[in-house]
């Protein structure tokens, strides 16, 4: 993707430059989208769709439903782009927050209709993520994140993954992990804080 502004900062060689420059670029594209710039939105889509769709698939699992969720999220993103404020967070986290919320809403309402038959299982079904998360395999950033995840305690990591990737409430997570009620939310928060600090983001 071409840089949006001519004065984007020179990036150091190595892994971090992609993330840094593209964050600024994405913020600019999002801002342009808020003014109704469809071409900018198309570029924003191209830069973020794999993350958005991948997250939706991870949470809702069924690829066709994930596609619907991602579509809803992007249309919402277009409609509300002018509300984005880059001083409050990155464009990617704004987009993924939207995708995640819609994904979780989808699984919760689907689960509500089949709750009686549901057994909690963590085995893979539907999409095999290990073989399909192709881009992630190559990404330095993803490897760093995985290492950071590995630095969490076992319970922190499990609680965080059940909540974020599987859409369970902290109360459900507590039950699934045999934690006292009310402690899963603390594990989730501790895990996120550690991940944030290890990765040096959001400072």
């Amino acid at each position: 993707m071409k840089p949006v502004s001519a004065d984007s900062p020179d990036s150091p060689p190595g892994g971090a430059e992609h993330a840094a420059s593209s964050q600024e670029e994405l913020a600019t594209l999002l801002k342009l989208s808020g003014r109704g710039d469809e071409a900018a939105f198309a570029r924003l889509y191209d830069a973020t769709a794999a993350r958005a769709y991948g997250l939706a698939v991870r949470v809702v699992r069924d690829p066709s439903q994930a596609e619907e969720v991602a579509q809803e999220a992007f249309l919402e993103l277009w409609r509300t782009a002018s509300r984005f404020d880059s001083s409050k967070g990155s464009a990617v986290s704004w987009i993924l927050t939207l995708v995640h919320r819609k994904s979780v809403d989808r699984v919760r309402s689907a689960e509500a209709s089949t709750r009686r038959d549901t057994t909690y299982h963590q085995g893979s079904q539907g999409v095999d993520h290990d073989s399909t998360a192709e881009a992630a395999q190559a990404s330095m950033e993803a490897r760093r994140v995985r290492q950071a995840m590995d630095s969490l305690t076992h319970v922190q990591r499990e609680a965080l993954e059940l909540a974020y990737f599987k859409g369970y409430t902290h109360t459900e997570v507590a039950t699934m992990l045999d934690l006292p009620v009310g402690t899963a939310k603390t594990r989730i928060r501790d895990g996120l804080i550690r991940l944030r600090d290890t990765m040096g983001v959001g400072q």
């Binding site: 993350r51 619907e68 986290s93 927050t97 991940l195």
Partner: protein, 266 residues
């Protein structure tokens, strides 16, 4: 800083709060700079987790998104005083079903078609003023003020009673004596039969059922119960019955749900 609310920040960021908790936290958030900062920074961390899930979407998604935006007008930017309401997560659940300004969500599959009728039904609910309907990105000037329903949900003395139904839907009554109000929250409620609506009742301290509001559509509701303060604060229960759409003065059918409220203070 409210410690117990602050502890919800992580679960909030990964959407692991239930509806009532989320409502409470979102009321708290605009008032607490510490929580805003923490939520923002933790969001960056969760965005990193998503890096690990990257997956190339089908090309059709791009086409339908780019076709879809042609019929959607982007919202105007906010021009009022800066507040914390430019929060992506200020969107409420079921937001896509109540898109307020005609924003169309293209239906990829027939199975989702019910959404279209819900949009119309939701508009009707707003028109009769029965209760607060969820809206994405609340963008009107009232956003910075707590609605009466949200004040009840956020009240420190709020008492809750939940019922789960066999079909997986659920309903919760929240009452605050301090706020002198009660709110009914529903999740995934089935549609009432044709020509009928759900009527909500407060059972007063003499055992009489007093009309307290109507729900005319399926789905998620947040309804501030009607009734004078005395009835609301002294009510011993809340019931829901199926009634004609115009409502009834007293229940004409057996309740589909009954909530017992804790002892009200005199």
């Amino acid at each position: 800083m409210n410690e117990s609310l602050h502890a919800l920040s992580g679960a909030y960021v990964v959407d692991a709060l239930d509806d009532a908790e989320r409502a409470v936290f979102e009321q708290h958030l605009p008032t607490c700079l510490d929580c805003q900062r923490e939520v923002a920074s933790l969001r960056e961390a969760t965005a990193l987790m998503a890096d690990d899930a990257t997956l190339t979407p089908p090309p059709a998604l791009r086409d339908s998104v780019l076709a879809g935006i042609k019929s959607i007008r982007p919202l105007a930017p906010e021009t009022g005083p800066a507040t914390a309401r430019a929060e992506p997560a200020a969107a409420e659940p079921a937001a896509d079903e109540t898109a307020p300004d005609g924003a169309k969500v293209l239906q990829l599959r027939p199975r989702r078609r019910r959404v279209a009728t819900l949009v119309a039904a939701a508009a009707a609910v707003v028109a009769v003023g029965v209760g607060t309907v969820y809206q994405p990105w609340q963008d009107d000037s009232t956003t910075t003020q707590l609605s009466a329903a949200d004040q009840v949900l956020a009240a420190s003395d709020a008492q809750r009673q939940s019922i789960e139904f066999d079909d997986g839907s659920s309903a919760t009554v929240v009452r605050s004596l301090k706020e002198k109000g009660a709110v009914l929250l529903t999740r995934d409620m089935a549609a009432p039969p044709d020509g009928k609506a759900f009527e909500i009742w407060l059972q007063d301290d003499t055992g009489t059922m007093v009309p307290a509001g109507m729900m005319k559509r399926a789905g998620d509701h947040k309804v501030l119960l009607e009734g004078d303060e005395r009835v609301v604060t002294k009510a011993t229960g809340v019931g829901i019955t199926v009634e004609p759409e115009s409502g009834s003065e007293e229940p004409t059918t057996e309740p589909i749900a009954l909530f017992e409220l804790g002892k009200a203070r005199a």
